[in-house]
Amino acid sequence: MHPAASVILFTVTSGMGYGLLILLALLGVTGAVPPQPAFGLAGFGCALVLITAGLLASTFHLGHPERAWRALSQWRSSWLSREGVLAIVTYVPALLLAAGWVLAGRSDGAFAVMGWLTVVLALTTVLCTAMIYASLKPIPQWRNRWVPAGYLVMALATGALWLALLTSLFDLGRGLASAIAVPALLAAAGVKWAYWRDIDGAAPLARVADATGLGALGQARLLERPHTEANYLQKEMGFRVARKHAGRLRRLVFLVGLGLPLLLVLMAPVLPAPAASVLLAVALLAGILGALAERWLFFAQAQHTVNLYYGADAV
């Protein structure tokens, strides 16, 4: 599948935002972090700006962005529609929680209820994003049980890196932020490893004979394409990435995107605050780079069955 920049930016950016939002809400409602207004403003500000920027980026690839409101109507059947509805609904408890935290300095009582609602809705929104892909039958690398978990752990891992940086800048609960970021990064590495192992070892979904109904004759292969130049299907779904490049990018995700932040997050608590914040900023940048590479690979390595009509032996 063609890795469109707008969709990669959207899913990575909004994923980080929702990850940060989920963790902030959890810390607030459990009382693990005091509802200090300045920290709340920075935290919820970052989370909501990331989410909003991601949602706006998602409209860049639409042919008719002005009709985007229509996408809220088909939540009964469409994961894309569900994602849109939930993304908007999540703003309500998230803004109320942020208001309580920033304006009233509270995250208890009714605000705690808003916090739990925020956690549940934000988690569900991320899962809906994943299900848009995981529900597509023609793309075996997406219709994979590790895909929803992958979106979730990447959102939480990148969100945890934001949280680690913010708590360090505001000098509260640095050890706590590390305690969240370390398992989140390890979980992300584990899930991505399992996902890549799974798609590498999977038997093909279909062969040319299945796509053409020519199985009774034995095998089939493409002899001639219908047209000389690439059409929409080939541009959108015919993208192929060399195995060599895919291997390099996977190592980049593991080493730079997850391993380096893990190391820096472990080092940060034992350093003085300014140095720790610099390290955590580097960790965040590395994490974002890794998340972008991971999401690019998620598209680039996905093969659509339409390729069986354009020269692929198996998908």
């Binding site: 639409l62 009709r67 229509r70 088909q74 039958k137 109904g213 009774a216 095998q219 002899l223 047209h227």
Partner: protein, 256 residues
């Protein structure tokens, strides 16, 4: 409504494509383009049509495959002469379980309850392209000029068109086919001509395991006659005189 509308009539309009007779002339693709460029989902935009990289929307594309017991990949593969060329027209199959419809977030994609035709409401389409990802057959093509998705309409503007003579109320691709490799009809009616053809010839679904239940069926190429039947006359059984050979030749000709 992107939830699939309940079929109210039992009618399932679709095409039956005979891979045995298709000669790969692309007339169906061209006639489709010609009619639909002014039809229900018009225009079928062409970008740079006479330039170096022509790019445009087509509802019907004709591929050619090599099929046989042993087919090698790559150039000049070769199944030792035991393979054959199969021309393969590909268009929307108007599936009974069309995921292209259910994934649509706006309700622009829909399957009609009265005849099962899958259409796009161009006024509601936001151009998110998700439906084209959900189609395993590559039936949908995005029009960058209109910013909307386009697809085969089964010539909905021909088959019910009272301004056309009744004999012409058929999809353009079916009308134009010079070898009658394409037939249009109600595949929900077991007694229809198309259903009978499917039953007689063992019509197949494409990618049946994916569960889309395509309405369109493909008739596989007929089995080849045994190689002995193609033996040159000189190799005919001993003792056969010219008269017998002539009779056998006439017999073979008539029994085709």
């Amino acid at each position: 409504m992107t939830q699939i509308a309940k079929n109210t009539t039992g009618r399932k309009l679709g095409l039956v494509i005979d891979l045995d007779t298709c000669v790969g002339c692309h007339a169906c693709a061209v006639a489709c383009k010609e009619w639909n460029d002014g039809g229900h989902m018009a225009p079928l935009t062409d970008e740079d049509p006479y330039g170096a990289e022509p790019f445009g929307v087509w509802f019907n594309r004709v591929h050619a495959f090599e099929a046989g017991p042993q087919v090698e990949s790559g150039c000049g593969g070769g199944g030792g002469g035991d393979t054959r060329t199969v021309h393969f027209p590909r268009s929307c199959l108007h599936c009974e379980q069309p995921d292209c419809v259910t994934v649509c977030p706006t309700g622009a994609s829909y399957k009609r309850g009265e005849d099962g035709i899958v259409l796009v409401d161009e006024d509601k389409c936001i151009g998110c392209k998700l439906c084209s990802w959900a189609c395993p057959y590559g039936a949908r093509e995005y029009d960058y000029a209109s910013g909307t998705m386009k697809k085969c309409t089964l010539c909905v503007d021909r088959i019910y068109n009272p301004n056309l003579p009744e004999a012409e109320r058929q999809p353009a691709c079916v009308m134009v086919c010079p070898v009658s490799a394409r037939a249009f009809g109600d595949l929900g009616d077991a007694e229809s001509d198309v259903s009978r053809r499917v039953a007689e010839r063992g019509g197949v679904d494409l990618l049946p395991d994916l569960g889309y239940q395509p309405v369109n069926k493909y008739l596989p190429p007929r089995p080849r006659r045994a190689a002995a039947e193609h033996a040159p006359l000189a190799d005919a059984a001993d003792g056969a005189d010219v008269g017998q050979r002539l009779l056998r030749w006439v017999d073979r000709l008539l029994s085709r």
